[in-house]
Symmetry: C2
Subunit: 184 residues, 2 copies
């Protein structure tokens, strides 16, 4: 299946290099086809990018669901999810946001945002709802999950960026965070 091969490779390249720095020529070359051949499968570069975002996000959703189901302890589930995201996301999360906001038109953006809501935010909210039942929190589960995802995004960066600011192990990130939002 050529379409799948294109998306798999494009995912790797877009995530690592960003939208602008990834050319259709590069994608084609690494697939051992010519650049115009891509256009048989996808209308243009933007469509490939959109397909990459959707596809990737769906996979994340499936796995997040599974992790949450199989781990009853909320803190541990959070840690597992963070570990999973850190390993899976081959890229700089913030750069992806920037690319999306600058390279996609508003309709597409909204569409992808809905998919994200379903595959990312939803599961985090669910976990912090859970936490809300057993602990006294400083903010609403919605606010906290949004804040958490934001902080986590700073821990989901490419290899090269890691060297600049040393990072804590992701478990410590989660622990500090929870200690910070739980009262008492």
């Amino acid at each position: 299946m050529m379409k799948k091969k294109i998306i798999d490779l494009a995912t790797k390249l877009f995530m690592k290099q960003g939208y602008l720095a990834t050319s259709t020529r590069q994608i084609a070359k690494e697939l051992n086809i010519t650049q115009p051949a891509l256009y048989h499968h996808y209308k243009n570069k933007e469509q490939i990018y959109i397909e990459v975002l959707k596809n990737f996000s769906d996979e994340i959703g499936i796995n997040m669901h599974q992790i949450i189901e199989s781990e009853p302890d909320t803190e541990q589930a959070l840690i597992n999810i963070c570990k999973y995201l850190q390993q899976t996301h081959p890229m700089n999360f913030s750069m992806m946001m920037h690319d999306m906001n600058h390279e996609l038109d508003e309709t597409t953006l909204r569409e992808i945002f809905v998919i994200w809501q379903k595959n990312y935010f939803y599961y985090f909210e669910q976990l912090f709802e859970r936490l809300n039942h057993t602990h006294d929190l400083f903010f609403s589960p919605k606010q906290i999950s949004s804040h958490f995802l934001r902080g986590l995004s700073a821990y989901i960066v490419g290899e090269s960026e890691k060297s600049m600011t040393p990072e804590l192990p992701i478990e410590e990130f989660v622990k500090i965070f929870l200690h910070g939002v739980i009262k008492k």
Copy 2:
């Protein structure tokens, strides 16, 4: 002074759009000069970018120093610095890191890293050292300041990215963080 005008505008554009998405033509056009005229002042695009990074970072350092000096309360000083950075940085912090790592050669990168260390990390470390005298912390001031800067970077993003994940007021970010790293 043309050189200064170039850097001022280039700062704005690079920070907002990123390195790749900002063309020398655009810079020239907004200065009402032609694109080749830029090359009289700077050898190439990369040199402009480097100058922007150095210049900007120096200014940050001066102001951070001043804020810390004039605010004896550590928590309030942190909040003031965060507010200052959030307002001043016209850009996506993480994207800047990515650009630096992908568009600059290693020698330049190291040079800029030293400047950053002096203008960003140093002051945060100083603040958390201060905190360490009065409170019992989970980690070393060095680790905590590195972790703090990372988290803060997720709150320093362009206007367009803000719409995607709602953010807490920066004061709350600081409070949750401190509550998280202080024992008891």
